[in-house]
């Protein structure tokens, strides 16, 4: 499944879980609860760590560019 989803033209990889890093959870049940809480608040921004204007700027710039093309 993973092999089919990788970007076309790029090297194929093995879909071997031993080669994939995962988070070292110390409490999987609590992690599951955090995930559920996060999903239930999906109407909120998933990322609130960066308050810089760069994202808004990039979005605005892209919007302007698209308007220019239309």
């Amino acid at each position: 499944m993973t092999k089919q989803r990788e970007h076309a033209g790029e090297r194929m990889i093995d879909d071997d879980p031993d080669q994939v890093n995962v988070l070292p959870f110390v409490d999987q049940k609590e992690a599951r609860n955090q995930l559920v809480n996060r999903l239930e608040s999906d109407d909120e921004d998933i990322v609130d760590i960066d308050t810089s204007d760069s994202y808004d700027f990039a979005t605005e710039l892209r919007s302007d560019f698209k308007s220019h093309l239309e």
């Binding site: 031993d18 959870f25 921004d45």
Partner: protein
């Protein structure tokens, strides 16, 4: 570079990994049994070193792979999986169900959050010394990200220091991405504090 030279380069890389103090967890082979690389471990992190005897025989890749969906699959409970996949309550949950449910979680994120997730992850893993690659879900979510750097053990001038520097860069950038994922899903309080091993520029998990 001949086949023997490729094998010699693989041997050299094995020595490089060991001299870094890292552990070789497994060896990668072709279907014909030729060794083409290694799965190595540094602290709790895994990286892969591999080449392609049928391609550019000089070039080997050091790669750090992180599975966003793997983390979600690891913490979902059977009832969650049945809900997400609309399975009957009597269905026995297997690994494929877990993978499908995790992808369903990622695909169910609203587009604006998917876009922000990608944007900020890119900010963390874009680095002049390494390359990145995404594996996407059918809905456009990020299922895995890979950080990689190339080394050329068959060429003159290749050194242990070059290998060590490449591995350090790849893992360091990879951990920055991991930290971002942990933060984005509010996992900071439930991951091992050793997450911040040997990277001086981590930003989120203290």
């Amino acid at each position: 570079m001949s086949g023997a030279d490729f094998d010699a380069a693989v041997d050299e890389l094995e020595g490089c990994i060991e001299r870094c103090g890292d552990t070789i967890a497994d060896t990668l082979h072709t279907d014909q049994g030729q060794t083409i690389g290694f799965i190595a471990e540094r602290n709790s992190w895994t990286y892969v070193v591999h080449g392609d005897p049928g391609g550019n025989k000089h070039q080997f890749t050091v790669e750090f792979r992180f599975g966003v969906s793997n983390n979600i699959a690891n913490i979902l409970e059977p009832a969650d999986v049945r809900d997400l996949l609309s399975l009957d309550s009597s269905t026995s949950i297997n690994d494929q169900h877990l993978e499908d449910a995790a992808i369903e979680v990622l695909d169910s994120m609203r587009p604006a959050n998917q876009e922000k997730f990608r944007y900020h992850l890119l900010q963390e893993i874009c680095d002049s010394n390494t390359s990145y690659n995404f594996i996407e879900t059918p809905g456009g979510g990020i299922e895995q990200f890979h950080i990689s750097g190339d080394v050329y053990p068959g060429r003159s001038g290749f050194t242990q220091a070059e290998f060590a520097r490449t591995v350090r860069s790849v893992i360091s950038v990879g951990i920055r991405g991991v930290q971002f994922v942990a933060t984005a899903f509010d996992f900071e309080s439930v991951v091992d504090s050793q997450l911040d091993t040997d990277s001086p520029d981590l930003r989120y998990i203290q």
